[in-house]
Amino acid sequence: MKLITLLAASISLLPVAAMAESKGTVEGIHHWVSESEVNALKVITDKLASKGYTWQDSAVGGLSGANALQALRTRLAAGNPPTTMQFLGYEGLDWAKEGVLRSLNDLYAKNGWDKALAPQLLVFVKSDDTFISLPINMHRQNWVWANKAVFDKAGIAEPKSWDELIAAGDKLKAAGVVPLAIGDEPWQILEVFEAIVTDVNGTEFYKKAVIDLDEAALSSDQMVDAFDKLRKVRGLVDDGFTGRDWAVATGMVASGKAGMQIMGDWAKGEFLAKGMKPGEDFLCFPTPAATANFKFIIDAFGVFNNDDPAVIAAQDAWAESIMDPEVQKNFNKIKGSIPARSDVSVEDFDACAKRSFADREAAVASGNMVGGLTEGFAAPPQFSGVFSDVVGKFFVTDMSSKDAVQALVDGINNAR
């Protein structure tokens, strides 16, 4: 009897509860699965909940989002796309060309979001004249992370050129420290190589060679020279770099076993998690460039075409949650990046993030802000793959710089 009344009561309550709970559901596929990433995402979904919508999490981790893309392909083929999807690099633009993404022009026009975004960033947010995605954060790729105690002991200051950096490495080696912590994974090596290409030759050359894939620039002497410098950097690496994860390499710098690491600012979280403080225990400075540049990576969300007004309303709420300045601020404090919006104050961020923010302003003004090749913001994957093949092979063999340039040109032409 008691059971029956309970059942009856719960059934009569069901529709009421559902109505009070949510105006609708936003389902999102993303590849944020680590603890800080999940906590950061919660900032956006809390905002969404305050607008009366429920978040349905469809995280697909692994392989820098390759698994999540697989999930999306399946869902689209089945005619059941999620409400929203996280995009890296060209992914959003590629899907826009397939005609599955909803135009966000009305929302951008209404809220003036494009004015808050750096023009270099719009390349990845806008397909022709259509806004297709909502950037939440910006990572900077060209950072050097150093152990301050090790640097002080060896008497090294922040290097101002790649020659100085290599010289500093030799000093560290003499002091019995591994100068540069790195793994032999091609993408880790490519981060170093593209930093050299940009820092030594400038962003104009980078744009020509890496973004436009201009054959003359690719086969130029500057490229040979960049490989020569990479060969010198190879001399700063220990023998145990095989299969070393980037986070393990960061750990070597944190423990003082190694002097520095060249890695995007996601490495910062590893130092912070060990209770180390920027400026006091570890140093962050950009890779040494003749003219300062800023290599960016953004995470953005796109929403899929739908005719149902309820779904469109849910998408609008999701978009407004992402682009909310307060959300962008709190999200990025946890994630370790800086807000994609340039108009959000970063006063209470840490020293590295502040430097990143100031450098971005300067780079936007001077036109020296470019997308990072390694993470897919310069050349599409079929070409960036060639870069990582050649650079990865060059680093572990005794290939000559001239042969490397030739392999690069042939590989790019083959993939065109």
Binding site: D184, T242, G243
Partner: protein, 298 residues
């Protein structure tokens, strides 16, 4: 009376076909249809998503002018030959030694067979550490006092593929041993005794009499191991990630990265077709000879 019998007859004739038809449909759709689809994609200009146009053999030309693919093909041959030869040699040796009516044979058998129970991911990760010069064998031997000892194959592109062979051999030797042991148990001991009376030495008995009698066991081992080597994917990913510098790339890892990571679905499909043709070149003559033999026996 007669009609019910024939109905029963008809039913019993149709029953096997009825039972088999669902799996037949599943195989036709799940295997052959998708082989055909992959073949079609390999002739199209597909990049991120399938495109149903026709560009002839363009993707195959592109595939064969990719240095990474050439490395992958060369690696597949080096790996298959070494993996098969070493696994079979060691597996057979252990099986013969275990077959000498020794004590605690059951325990030893389990010890040798145990690696087979691990997944290739576990094997690959463990061997990655064992072979790392700063963590594994080299460091242990150096710490023991032999400071000049160097074993850094996994860091050297020209030797790294042999590290994959070592790990794969470690994993699969027990399996080869088990099959050979079963084969040895099926051999009548009176043959050995008769040969001994004739004055043949033990190595000679094994080499000239026992091993040739193990032919069926050899065939099963070779077929099963070749298929392990062609589909080897997880071991390479866990052990070397295809590195250093793509020197341990295999056709399967190449296919995966082209199709799913580099938006080159056409090239990926072409490489899958090349793998299929390689397998077919081995399996079809084998099946043909087996079927012919079966027919001759009648």
């Amino acid at each position: 009376m007669r009609s019910t019998l024939s109905l029963k007859d008809r039913f019993s004739r149709w029953l096997p076909r009825l039972v088999l038809s669902p799996s037949l449909v599943a195989i036709i759709v799940g295997v052959y249809l998708f082989i055909a689809w992959t073949g079609w994609i390999s002739l199209s200009s597909s990049k991120m998503v399938p495109k149903y146009d026709f560009v002839g053999l363009e993707q195959y030309i592109r595939l064969w002018s990719t240095p990474r693919w050439e490395t992958a093909v060369a690696n597949l041959f080096v790996f298959t030959v070494l993996f098969l030869a070493i696994t079979i040699a060691i597996g057979l040796l252990i099986a013969i030694l275990l077959d000498q009516q020794i004590r605690a044979e059951g325990f030893l058998r389990a010890v040798y067979l145990y690696p087979m129970a691990l997944s290739f991911i576990v094997t690959g990760t463990a061997w990655k550490w064992i072979l790392n010069p700063d963590l594994g064998v080299e460091k242990v031997v150096n710490d023991l006092g032999w400071t000049g000892f160097v074993f850094d194959w996994i860091t050297r592109p020209e030797y790294a593929i042999y590290c994959v062979v070592i790990a794969a051999v470690w994993q699969s030797t027990g399996f080869a041993m088990a099959i050979f042991l079963a084969g040895l148990r099926g051999i009548d001991t009176s043959i050995i005794k008769a040969a001994q009376i004739e004055g043949a030495s033990l190595p000679r008995i094994y080499l000239n009499i026992i091993v040739p009698m193990l032919r069926p066991a050899f065939l099963s081992v070779i077929v099963l191991l070749s298929y392990i080597s062609i589909k080897s994917f997880d071991l390479v990913l866990a052990l070397t990630g295809g590195g250093p510098g793509n020197s341990t790339e295999m056709p399967s890892t190449f296919m995966f990265s082209a199709t799913f990571r580099r938006n080159q679905m056409g090239v990926g499909a072409a490489s899958a077709m090349m793998m299929l043709m390689t397998v077919a070149a081995i399996i079809i003559p084998y099946l043909y000879s087996e079927l012919k033999e079966a027919r001759n026996e009648h």
